[in-house]
């Protein structure tokens, strides 16, 4: 694992869950590959991540019962595990989003005052 990747993961530790939830909430059921692609798109390749990095986040969210995985077929008729956000997940997303906003506003303010 490269140092750069380590950094990225550390950065993501708290936010990856939020991003996954958000992605599933706006785009509906997605499989891991789709989520990873989406992550790369929105991060504008700022985050240089292996797609496998996503898996621990997925199993964590599944154990919280915030998302639910079911096997399905892609358009190209390949099998894939589709993840869907649950009701508890919707609620958690709302709370986590608020928390994140508060936190980032706070950090923003601190940074402003210090500069």
């Amino acid at each position: 694992m490269s140092n750069k990747e380590k950094e990225s993961i550390q950065l993501l530790q708290g936010t990856l869950d939020l991003i996954v939830l958000r992605t599933l909430a706006t785009m509906g059921a997605q499989h891991a590959y789709q989520i990873a692609t989406r992550l790369q798109q929105i991060s504008d390749r700022l985050l240089n991540l292996n797609q496998g990095t996503l898996y621990p986040a997925l199993v964590r969210l599944e154990q919280y019962e915030w998302i639910k995985g079911t096997w399905g077929r892609t358009e190209s008729n390949r099998e894939a595990k589709y993840y869907e956000i649950t009701k508890a997940g919707q609620k958690a997303l709302k709370e986590e989003t608020q928390g994140w906003r508060r936190m980032s506003a706070l950090v923003e303010r601190v940074l402003l005052e210090e500069s």
Binding site: M1, H31, A32, Y33, N50, Q51, G52, T53, Y55, P56, V59, R60, Q63, Y64, E65, T74, S76, R78, E79, A80, K81
Partner: protein, 905 residues
């Protein structure tokens, strides 16, 4: 909530992981296929697409591992494997395994057994609802210094006043426990019964299993009803539910059984397990209990339940107000008596006295356990050093330090849990045998046992020991330097020295604590010896004693009582083999004495000294001869000292020395009560030896003897109208044959005089003494056996360390011998290394003994906690044992074959 679910899931997945693992593989496979498809679409060759897909995904195995780490507790999932590995290793060295497990089993077993006492006696709440709201209320009389006055007590007027005038209690009542003669249900027998206010049942709040309890109203109406204990109901009434309404005779007066209390109901909570109340009767105070002497004798206690929000302190100041009023109402002859109200939580009142003993035992046993731990840690450490190469190889092959740590801890945990399980069995065994050996000074002994808290304690102890013992080898393992260990090759050399300091520290600590315990045991043994040296003041051999109490129903007049006594003395006195007989109101060494205040002619007590208390015994015939009490001056009582003649008394040496130092006490005068009390003078006609009243290590009390026939006359205004004397007493007889053989004859003789009269507590005086010594014997034996265990363990520890270092230095020894070293030099070398450890340990141990002195002081008798003899003897013994333990390895070292030096490599 979500966290809890996740923790449970992760734990669950430790056991059911294969399905999830398969699904993960399938998901990753699908993911890779999708990636591949994408790259193919971009125009790559199939081979390139595969490679690109793998690259984009990242390491598959790493992703899987991270997934596993996330979904379950990875570290834990390795433990079963570690345990299997440990078990395999333990099987390979059965000697080590058995030693380690036994050492731990003994340590944990002993600690668990002692903890069960701590738990049952001190920690468990009393068996009443809201027990912390229950308090004992009573008076402490200023200036009363007798041993039996440490507990507060109350008189009949006190009970009435406190019940009527205090405002802090929702329920408050008085009680007193007495022996009663029980007949009308099986053999006549003596039973322990408690007379108590109906309010006491209300305060305690325990419902009966059968029938009902009596109420305050029953009490005040003087209802003759009785509530049975569970044990009494089972043994005497065969658990018959129809017992309600049946009649029993107590001192030949009929009482109706109205209820049965549950099995675990016990009140009063007396020390020991032989004095428990078997019956409860209404207190129903009689008018004569409010007059004269009875009104002044504090022979009852009170228990109450505090009103919500009221503290024991507030209740005490409330009661103090009542006590002040009580004092104001004292008759003129009690004017100088000062009392204070004391409210003590029932829990404290019950267990307070036992606390120092129990705590000391717990500390001692924990010391033994610590030594056992240090020993095991030492053994594990030695093993870890032996396996250094294996550990180095594992490290070189990429084992993480965390794995090594976990391994070392699991290793010792397996041992300690096995030890704990065996220890628990040992504790169960010890308790089964041991509870009956507990001293009768310990309260709540029936609640001692292996229950859940104790089991949990044992388990926790096993885990904790395992963890602590594992630390040393774990520490050794992670400090293993791969390079060094592998470079050393087959030669063991002296490289173990890295951990030598740790091993030495363990042994030094062991020796230090063992020595602390050894000195404690030495001091206790010395105290026991000193106690044995105390003169009893009487000759216990060939002496038999038994108590009788004449029921008032049958012996209602003084002449009836006197008739009984005369016949008894005559019939028993003429039995073959009986040398002397007497009757006394107290039995030496039985602890049933009571003290009263005296006024001595011409003696002004120093200010603030309060009452001149002395133990009073009323005697008839010649108990001095029967008990072998030496007469120092003057004479004993004769038949002519009777109700009509001049009042006489005999004092003991202590009394004479206190009040008439350097003078002949014969002819001096004293009287009962305080100076303002009008009682007649008694003339001292004799002085006798000090007699042990309670136990030999208790302080000797001033004692006064009086002919029982003169009791009423000497009481003056204290005497209640129609008071009877001599209705009870201890028969003491000295025989030419073994006193055990006299028991049947004595019983038969008494039965001939009154077939219904039982004899209580028949015992030889030797038995009475042995019973009075039991508490001291108990703690001496227990602490000494702990000390022996500790010393043995630490000697084992020092042996192990020296033997191991000798084994490590075999090569060095061979070289020394090859170069012409003398055997004696080698022996000296090894011995001195052992002696050094022992010396440091002994130094620390003596400091420990000094630190422990404060705790120990209360258990010592006429021995200073710094007794130089005991301290130096223990230290020398410890040093010698340590030297002996090093001698064996030293001998082995000295017989090293010099050829080894050449052959080694």
């Amino acid at each position: 909530m979500k966290h809890l679910r996740r923790v449970l899931l992760r734990l669950y997945l430790l056991f059911a992981d294969s399905k999830v693992e398969a699904e993960l593989a399938r998901e990753i496979g699908a993911h890779l296929v999708l990636l591949e498809d994408e790259y193919l679409r971009q125009g790559m060759t199939p081979e390139d697409a595969r490679r690109a897909a793998r690259l984009a995904y990242g390491g598959v195995e790493q992703a899987k591992q991270r997934h596993r780490d996330e979904r379950t507790f990875q570290g834990l999932s390795q433990i079963p494997q570690d345990v299997r590995y440990t078990l395999r290793q333990l099987r390979n060295s059965p000697g080590f395994t058995v030693t380690a497990i036994l050492v731990l089993a003994l340590g944990i077993g002993a600690t668990t057994a002692i903890f069960s006492i701590v738990e049952g006696v001190l920690l468990r709440p009393l068996p009443f609802p809201d027990p912390d709201r229950l308090v004992i209320l009573g008076d402490v009389r200023e200036g009363s210094h007798c041993a039996s006055c440490t507990h507060s007590s109350v008189t009949a007027p006190d009970i009435r006043n406190y019940m009527r005038d205090t405002e802090s209690f929702s329920h408050l009542g008085g009680y007193r426990q007495r022996l009663f003669e029980l007949s009308g249900a099986g053999e006549p027998a003596a039973v322990n019964a408690t007379r108590m206010s109906g309010e006491v049942f209300a305060a305690l709040g325990v419902p009966p299993v059968l029938g009902r309890k009596f109420t305050q109203q029953d009490d005040e109406e003087g209802q003759q009803v009785a509530v049975l204990s569970y044990g009494m109901w089972r043994s005497r009434f065969h658990g018959d539910a129809n017992v309600l309404g049946s009649k029993i005779l107590l001192y030949r007066k009929p009482y109706t059984v109205i209820g049965v209390m549950p099995r675990n109901f016990e009140f009063p909570l007396n020390p020991g397990n032989v004095n428990q109340s078997e019956l409860w009767l209404p207190l129903s105070l009689q008018p004569e209990e409010f007059t004269a002497g009875s009104a002044a004798s504090g022979n009852s206690r009170m228990v109450g339940r505090l009103k919500p929000g009221i503290t024991a302190e507030r209740a005490q100041s409330d009661a103090e107000r009542v006590a002040q009023e009580t004092m104001r109402d004292y008759p003129a002859y009690m004017r100088s008596l000062r009392i204070h109200a004391v409210a003590t939580p029932l829990q404290e009142d019950t267990v307070g006295q036992a606390r120092p003993l129990v705590r000391t035992l717990l500390l001692a046993v924990i010391v033994v356990l610590l030594i056992a731990c240090a020993n095991l840690a030492g053994l594990l450490l030695v093993r870890a050093i032996r396996r250094r190469r294996e550990i180095a190889v594992r490290l070189a092959l990429g084992a993480r330090t965390a794995t090594l740590l976990r391994h070392a801890i699991v290793d010792s945990m397996v041992l300690s849990i096995a030890g704990g399980a065996i220890g628990l069995a040992l504790a169960a065994l010890a308790l089964r045998v041991g509870v009956s050996l507990l001293p009768q000074t310990l309260p709540r002994v029936n609640e001692i046992g292996l229950d859940w808290p104790v089991m949990l304690f044992a388990l926790g102890l096993a885990l904790l020991t395992g963890f602590l013992c594992g630390l040393a080898p774990a520490f050794a393992a992670i400090r293993t330097s791969v390079n060094e260990s592998l470079k050393e090759g087959g030669r063991t050399g002296t490289s173990g020295s890295g951990h030598a300091r740790l091993r030495s520290a363990l042994v030094v600590a062991e020796i230090a604590v063992a020595l602390t315990l050894l000195t404690a045991s030495g001091l206790l043994l010395r105290s026991f010896e000193k106690m044995r040296d105390v003169k009893l003041g009487f000759r216990p051999d060939n002496t038999l004693a038994a108590l009788y109490v004449l029921p008032q129903q049958r012996y209602a007049t003084q002449s009836a009582i006197d008739e009984f006594t005369r016949t008894l003395l005559n019939d028993v006195g003429h039995l073959p083999g009986v040398d002397a007989i007497g009757i006394t109101s107290f039995l030496p060494a039985a602890g049933n004495n009571w003290g009263i205040g005296f006024t001595i002619e011409g003696y002004v007590s120093p200010k603030g000294a309060g009452l001149n208390m002395a133990a009073m015994s009323l005697v008839e015939s010649d108990p001095f001869e029967a008990l072998g009490i030496r007469v120092l001056r003057g004479r004993v009582f004769t038949e002519s000292d009777n109700a009509g003649s001049q009042l006489v008394a005999i004092v003991n040496r202590k009394m004479a020395e206190r009040h008439w130092p350097g003078q002949d006490p014969i002819g001096k005068r004293l009287r009962r009560g305080m100076p303002e009390t009008s009682t007649p003078w008694m003339t001292v006609v004799g002085e006798v030896d000090d007699v042990t009243l309670e136990s030999r290590d208790a302080e000797t009390m001033p004692q006064v003897y009086q002919p029982v026939t003169q009791t009423v006359a000497s009481e003056g205004v204290f005497a209640s109208p129609g008071e009877l004397s001599a209705a009870d007493g201890w028969i003491v007889l000295r025989s030419r044959m073994a006193p055990e053989g006299m028991q049947g004859t004595l019983r038969a003789t008494v039965r001939k005089i009154d077939p219904q009269l039982p004899l209580y507590q028949m015992q030889t005086m030797e038995h009475a003494i042995s019973k009075s010594e039991a508490p001291r014997r108990f703690n001496t034996v227990l602490i000494s056996s702990f000390a022996i265990a500790a010393v043995l363990l630490s000697v084992l520890g020092i042996y192990a360390v020296i033997a191991f270092s000798v084994a490590l230095r075999e090569q060095e020894m061979a070289v020394r011998m090859a170069l012409g070293g003398q055997r004696s030099e080698v022996i000296l070398l090894i011995l001195s290394s052992g002696a050094k450890l022992a010396a440091v340990g002994c130094g620390l141990g003596l400091l420990g003994a000094v630190a422990a002195s404060r705790l120990l002081r209360s258990f010592l008798f006429e021995v200073s906690p710094f007794d130089p003899g005991v301290l130096s003897l223990s230290a020398i013994a410890m040093l010698l044992l340590a030297l002996a333990a090093s001698a064996l390895p030293a001998r082995r070292a000295s017989s090293t074959d010099p050829m080894l030096a050449l052959r080694g490599e």
